[in-house]
């Protein structure tokens, strides 16, 4: 027993030593710009989290390897595993915060909600490329949030517009099969608004985390036979939904996923049966032939420095999205440097850079991204920059575009954004900044 006790004491001492170690953290070198990287490579969402994380980290590596950093300043980064859990995500953020990060991309709407309260005090830019709070487009209230490329309200609006082209929606039924989390619930407000305008009936079908059990949901789909199903799933939920749709023989052609529900890991488990399934693409799809992909191969994978376990992952939908997310972060840093000088910039300076991003088609091409990104211009009242997307369809082997560009209608969205932002500022007692002055 005595021996045992000594062992406990040793274990306890180790734990205490560890906690103290956290206190005196090793801060990043002062001649580098630090970017905290919140990822999830384990858990139910790993199949989708891994390619995104690989793309994100690979792009940061590429900037260091190919260009020697951003205008000569190297990028430092550190990964932290969140497991898509909000509390672990907040812990990761706190852990990496002390290293003076400039911008963080949490890849979870739940974590985004939690961090939205924290970033203004810590002066770290919260980049949410293609997710996050839809009302954070309004930069006068959400000064530090940047839902670049598009929000869920954008996505839902574009999907409604797309199905409307096939015939008027009056009297039709649209079902939303969604992940029962802030992420999945985000589009409901917009869809309710659109349902009133267009006269369709909206059926809400929540799926609980992690989404492997959906028999009941799809039985309801079978009973009610909606004309369209919008899928707002993530991780293992997506492939399960597609398999269940097949089981109740719901036509895949009438299924539309959001951009987080239309990547390779979602359709490959169902193999050929997923044929005809559609998704809205966030500007890009699975494309691997652009100069940036060739650079990835040349500078990273040929030298064995790539993050992904196989170079085949380069160019997949989520890998590209990770890469673009990192690219936008880097461009915000560049923009900040153009005003404040080519040095290690602070979070506040990067915030200015993100709010004054202007990437035209030529510039995006120049970065090696071809036409994977649409021209993007942010401003104080529009932290999204661009609100466009295309539909892509899975043909059993690959994704291909099946529509031309759609654009979210801000005549409809603007009042929603403003009322929601106003409610938030009232709840949090925030005074919106006057745009155009600061």
């Amino acid at each position: 027993m005595k021996r045992m006790f000594r062992k406990h004491a040793a274990a306890l001492a180790l734990a205490v030593a560890g906690a103290l170690g956290a206190a005196q953290d090793v801060s990043a070198q002062s001649n580098e710009i630090f970017i905290p990287v919140l990822v999830y490579r384990t858990g139910a969402y790993a199949p989708n989290g891994v390619p995104w994380a690989d793309g994100y980290v690979d792009y940061l590596k590429l900037v260091n390897e190919r260009d020697g950093g951003v205008n000569g300043i190297k990028l430092a980064y550190e990964e932290c595993e969140t497991g898509y859990a909000t509390d672990r995500g907040v812990e990761c953020y706190e852990r990496l915060k002390s290293k003076k990060g400039v911008a963080v991309n949490p890849l979870s709407t739940g974590i985004t909600y939690a961090l939205t309260d924290k970033v203004p005090a810590d002066k770290i830019v919260l980049m949410t490329t293609g997710y996050g709070r839809s009302d954070s487009v309004e930069g006068s209230v959400f000064q530090w949030n940047f839902p670049l490329l598009g929000t869920y309200w954008d996505a839902a609006d574009m999907l409604v517009q797309h199905v409307k082209r096939k015939g008027p929606l009056k009297g039709k039924k649209i079902a939303l099969v969604y992940h029962d989390s802030p992420y999945g619930k985000e589009p409901i407000k917009l869809l309710e608004e659109r349902a009133k305008m267009e006269g369709f009936q909206l059926i809400l079908l929540p799926v609980t985390h992690p989404g492997v059990e959906q028999k009941a949901t799809w039985l309801q789909v079978r009973q009610q036979r909606p004309d369209y199903v919008f899928l707002w799933g993530w991780g293992v939920m997506n492939s399960t939904s597609i398999k269940e749709a097949i089981a109740v023989s719901y036509p895949r052609l009438q299924m539309f996923g959001v951009w987080w529900s239309s990547a390779e890991p979602d359709v490959t488990p169902a193999e050929d049966a997923a044929k005809g399934y559609n998704g809205i693409a966030l500007g890009h799809s699975a494309e691997g032939g652009f100069p940036v992909h060739k650079d990835m191969q040349k500078y990273l994978y040929d030298k064995g420095k790539g993050t992904a376990s196989s170079a085949k992952e380069v160019g997949s939908v989520l890998y590209n999205r990770g890469m673009i997310s990192a690219m936008l972060t880097v461009e915000a840093i560049k923009q900040a440097q153009s005003k404040y000088g080519k040095r290690v910039v602070t979070g506040e300076e990067v915030r200015w850079g993100a709010e004054n991003l202007a990437l035209d088609a030529g510039k995006i091409k120049g970065l090696g991204f071809g036409d994977m990104g649409q021209p993007l211009k942010t401003s104080c009242h529009d932290h999204g920059g661009v609100h466009k997307g295309r539909i892509h369809t899975w043909d059993g082997k690959q994704w291909s575009y099946t529509s031309d560009w759609l654009e979210a209608d801000y005549k409809v969205l603007r009042p929603l954004v403003e009322s929601s932002a106003k409610a938030y500022s009232a709840e949090k007692k925030i005074t919106p900044v006057a745009c155009g002055k600061a």
């Binding site: 027993m1 005595k2 045992m4 006790f5 406990h8 734990a15 560890g18 906690a19 170690g21 956290a22 206190a23 953290d25 990822v39 490579r41 384990t42 790993a46 891994v50 994380a53 990964e79 932290c80 595993e81 497991g83 909000t86 509390d87 907040v90 812990e91 706190e94 852990r95 915060k97 002390s98 709407t109 739940g110 909600y113 939690a114 939205t116 309260d117 924290k118 005090a121 709070r133 839809s134 009302d135 029962d180 989390s181 802030p182 992420y183 619930k185 985000e186 409901i188 407000k189 929540p206 985390h209 929601s420 938030y424 709840e427 949090k428 007692k429």
Partner: protein, 354 residues
């Protein structure tokens, strides 16, 4: 040698019955609290406050609540997450709908609402026990998950179902910095821990423990099982409700029902079992084990300079953590608090054990 009671004579009942009868204990606790209140706020980093100390303290409070129900009164509950959620959402609704309410009043009212809810779901305990009761409290968990996810009134019609707490303010002072939040939480936890410790030493606590040990015998000696059980549910869910409100307001800031799902209930149950059933100290030790250890395990490879992939670190964290739970339960099924007590016993005889 140092830890010895020789010469400490108790000459009054009061001195014999005090909270910490041994002088060294008393000084240790006073010193420890003085350190926690006066020194830690100036020493610790933001990370230590926000990621370790505050979650540890709040979950300790929740574990104390659960321990009263489970450790002292013997009523197994899997609905702790639900009681926390009731506290959190009550506090949110009070803060949003009733303007200018004092933060402490909000927390106490939130606790009271959770208490009513707890009593309601405690009623089945009069008829069923053990595993069956656990399943009945599980119903509370699922009911609450459903309630706060589906009934929009509770979330003030938030589009995503996620709600945010208003800024913390107490008597006109904003509680903003991590150190201020820490002191605020620490003060509340200390008050409740002291109250809980005293409750469990008094008549109510004895009636709980009698009910736990053998309810028929307790009834025979004149303890009313209904009062004992329902009061345990009431006190427990009051404390858990306050902990839920703190967790939501101080720790999370904005949250969704998922923050209080069944996993939270299990987490608290593990804390109480590993820490020690029927021990206030055990609640703290268990919370430290469950909250701090995974974080230490997750960061250990980085501190030691071992390059491992993020995924591998997570996998190792799960494996080592699981193994340690099993290890501690085998070594001392009565929990970490019992190990502490054994240590103290040994220390009293040291260096001359018989």
């Amino acid at each position: 040698m140092i830890y010895r009671e020789t010469g400490q004579f108790k000459t009054t009942y009061a001195s014999d019955q005090q909270l910490f009868p041994i002088l060294q204990d008393r000084w240790f606790v006073i010193g420890f609290l003085a350190f926690a209140f006066a020194a830690v706020p100036f020493m610790a980093t933001d990370y230590l406050f926000l990621a370790i100390l505050i979650p540890f303290l709040i979950l300790s409070l929740a574990a104390i609540g659960l321990n009263i129900l489970e450790g002292y009164c013997g009523q197994v509950s899997l609905g702790t997450g639900a009681f926390m959620a009731v506290g959190a959402y009550s506090a949110y609704n009070l803060a949003v709908r009733v303007p200018d309410l004092n933060l402490l009043v909000i927390f106490l009212l939130a606790g009271a609402i959770a208490m009513v809810f707890g009593i309601l779901f405690g009623i089945p305990s009069l008829r069923i026990k053990g595993f069956y009761l656990a399943v009945a409290t599980l119903a509370a968990q699922f009911f609450v998950d459903w309630l706060f996810a589906r009934v929009k009134w509770f979330t003030n019609d938030s589009s995503s179902g996620s709600v945010s707490a208003p800024p913390l303010e107490l008597f006109g002072h904003a509680i903003v910095t991590p150190a201020q939040q820490y002191v605020f939480v620490l003060a509340i936890v200390c008050v409740f821990a002291l109250a809980a410790r005293n409750l469990t030493r008094g008549a109510i606590g004895r009636s709980w423990m009698a009910t736990r040990d053998m309810d028929v015998a307790a009834e025979v000696i004149g303890i009313r099982p209904m009062m004992a059980k329902l009061s345990a549910f009431a006190v427990s869910s009051f404390i858990v409700g306050v902990a839920g409100a703190l967790w939501a307001f101080v720790r999370l800031g904005s949250w969704e029902p998922l923050a209080f799902d069944v996993n939270r209930s299990f987490q608290l149950l593990f804390m109480v079992i590993i820490g020690g059933l029927g021990s206030i100290l055990g609640s703290f030790l268990g919370a430290a084990f469950i909250v701090v250890l995974p974080l230490v395990l997750n960061q250990l490879p980085t501190w030691l300079g071992i390059p491992l992939s993020t995924a591998m670190i997570s996998h190792i964290e799960f494996m080592v953590f699981g193994a340690l739970i099993v290890f501690f339960l085998i070594v001392e099924p009565r929990g970490l608090a019992r190990l502490w007590a054994i240590g103290k016993e040994k220390l009293r005889l040291w260096p001359f054990p018989h």
